[in-house]
Amino acid sequence: MKLLYYPGCTLHTVAVQFDQSTKEICKQLDIELIEISDFTCCGGLYPQTTENLMQLQAPARILVQAQRTDPNLELMTLCTFCYNTLKRTHYTLKKDEQKRNILNDYLEEPYNAKVKIVHLIEVFRDDIGYDTIRKKSKRSLLKGFRVAPYYGCLLLRPMNEIELDDQEQPSILEDLLYAIGCDVIEFPYRFDCCGSFHVVNKPEIAEQCSKELLRYTEQFHANCLVTCCPLCYYNISRFGGTDFNFQIFYITQLVGLALGIEPIKLGLDPEIINKFISDSYLV
């Protein structure tokens, strides 16, 4: 299958492992990624007030760029900020014709409000299917990974606009992790905020949030945390670094390991992975 791919601002810079591991697994699963050209930042967090036209322009431009590249393909994105912002922008423009008409004057071509935005984990669930993933995975490999699935704040909310999974009782990450053979922890703190953008001017807030999250992770005897968000990844690894004995992974890195891809190709340190795998014999 073919998908359009919008990497956003982080996937080629601070989250290269995420990009790299995604490309590796897509190769294995016969998914062709077509990166849209000439894209900009989506604007980070979605502008929530009623007078948000100006800030909707950047994400709307990306949607138009996708429509121009190939109107029949779905637009896949990985970063939860991008995913959330693009989906909510699409929702607003689809629903609000007046806003769409005004914005259209500022876009390369009018937006048809038909682009379907998907997250890679959605493609796994709906197009590839967990059964296929289970069959292709070396499931015994991931036995030592006691994973706490971490959704963070943006992946699912608000549910009526994102329509990925239930916002309070989701299972999309858990199901995928089960399919690849991890020991999945039932993790009640999976939506707790990592401190988000406050790390920029009030790092102490992000520090407290991330450390609290890791304390819970420890209480639940998880030895790693899995996320889809480059900012969660950054905050948690920055503030949890030395105090906690844990590892944070992008979901695609674990899927890649299960599919038998070498750690180094997924942006992972083989030594760390070996430790996990040898630990699994102790359990």
Binding site: G43, T49, E168, V200, C209
Partner: protein, 132 residues
């Protein structure tokens, strides 16, 4: 007395317009504050912001740091039993302050080295939410 040209009534009306919310939908259960990850840093809890606005007491709300400390995580919006979109109310407050030229941070007050080290969406979001 308000430091704006707006009266308190006008201010509250603008919050309602920008957020698209009816402030009187809130029945003060406090569930939003209970789940807010930033509540212990805030001078005024999220549900108290709504209460003050219901009573048209604007000054204590704008003096509090609550709406600047809100990270727009939508936890409160998700859980409110009355479907009040509190995250949008916080955003409306930020927007009004930014329009009044009273942003929380100045773009140029952040050293470039600091911004460069972060995932870009953190810097973009912080600047968008806190300085317009």
């Amino acid at each position: 007395m308000s430091m704006f040209k707006k009266t308190n009534e006008e201010f509250v009306h603008e919050v309602e317009l920008l957020s698209g919310q009816n402030l009187f939908s809130c029945y003060q259960c406090g569930k939003c504050s209970a789940g807010c990850a930033f509540a212990n840093f805030m001078d005024m809890l999220p549900h108290q912001v709504i209460r003050f606005l219901q009573l048209k007491k604007v000054e204590p709300v704008i003096d509090a740091n609550t709406y600047w400390y809100c990270a727009a995580c939508l936890t409160c919006t998700t859980r409110c039993p009355k479907s009040v979109d509190l995250a949008s109310i916080m955003e409306a407050l930020r927007n009004i302050m930014i329009r009044e030229n009273r942003p929380y941070i100045q773009v140029f007050s952040l050293p470039v080295e600091i911004i460069e080290g972060f995932p870009q969406q953190a810097a973009v979001s912080a600047l968008r939410k806190l300085s317009g």
